[in-house]
Symmetry: C2
Subunit: 210 residues, 2 copies
Amino acid sequence: MDDDRFQQQIRFILEIDKLKTIIRRTYLLHADRAENTAEHSWHLAMMAILLAEYANEPVDVARVIKMVLVHDIVEIDAGDTYFYDATAALDKHEREHTAADRLFGILPGDQGKELRELWEEFEAAQSADARFALALDRFMPQLHNYHTQGRSWVEHGISADQVLERNEGMAEGSLKLWECAKSLLADAVSKGLLPPKDAERKRDGAPEEK
Amino acid sequence: MDDDRFQQQIRFILEIDKLKTIIRRTYLLHADRAENTAEHSWHLAMMAILLAEYANEPVDVARVIKMVLVHDIVEIDAGDTYFYDATAALDKHEREHTAADRLFGILPGDQGKELRELWEEFEAAQSADARFALALDRFMPQLHNYHTQGRSWVEHGISADQVLERNEGMAEGSLKLWECAKSLLADAVSKGLLPPKDAERKRDGAPEEK
């Protein structure tokens, strides 16, 4: 019985090694490759330790750390859904819930429940801990984009308007980080790293050039 | 003043992105590449969450998580010192302390001190939290080696005797994980994944083949 529990834990630990092969759209600052989700999760956990003082409300840092460590594990089955991809967003919820069933189901009941609840809390963004964790998760790619000449924004034809619209929820977790993100974005626009508005397509419906 | 602090924190967060480019000797389970230290640190933190019940003494899981997140940041400057490389071990202490001075020195004083003390505690292995964190750090590469046909052991000509000798300190943090590691190692020897002893070189002093 005891050993069943240990075997379930080890099976999960081996399974989540796959998170190191899930590739995000964000680029590393010091190497010419995209980031994977495992290293992204480590980086967020470090941010949680260092930036907790900028949460709008008091947060339980240890819970925020756990939350960001776990928040993307469902991507092992569901894949990384690009933040600005409206089509992929349509079935994201369903894909990720199916993934959560399988992945957290590998663990002993109590631990599967704990991790799943942390993930669901993060997704719902209804607690102070989750709102702050979400702000970190939104802030990080903007920092990386700013410091890689807007590389991922450019590759996906993202405008500053889209960045603002999709990220303004950050303000509910951390006004300080949201102000910083807006200021980096304004500077990126002034440097020509990305256009202020998705102007042409919206105005005259002209087809995109290939 | 306040903004100096914020800028120091952001500078450190950008700097530690480099940990994603520090390559270890351990291979991933589901991709044909070696692991980097950032994703390794994430994986250890997940193990701390899931395996804390096997620590010999009661541990503060939140502290263990922080400790493993931080424990290898010095590798950004000092590089990854291969666990079985006795020559590289000679100046490891000096290299890593110089690295700690520079890296933790980027942070505001209070936070640099907190992270440095966590790292020093890990290195000294004199607390229950550190002994358990160290056991996790030893256990993980053995798990990965076992599940990749001993790939890294084979590449570096490591024998089971060496693995036992270098890892027995694990027992001070977690007897359970040490028993598991020994049992995996015995199985690996029985499958011929690595030799039981580094026999030839020790017995007759014959030079290594190139």
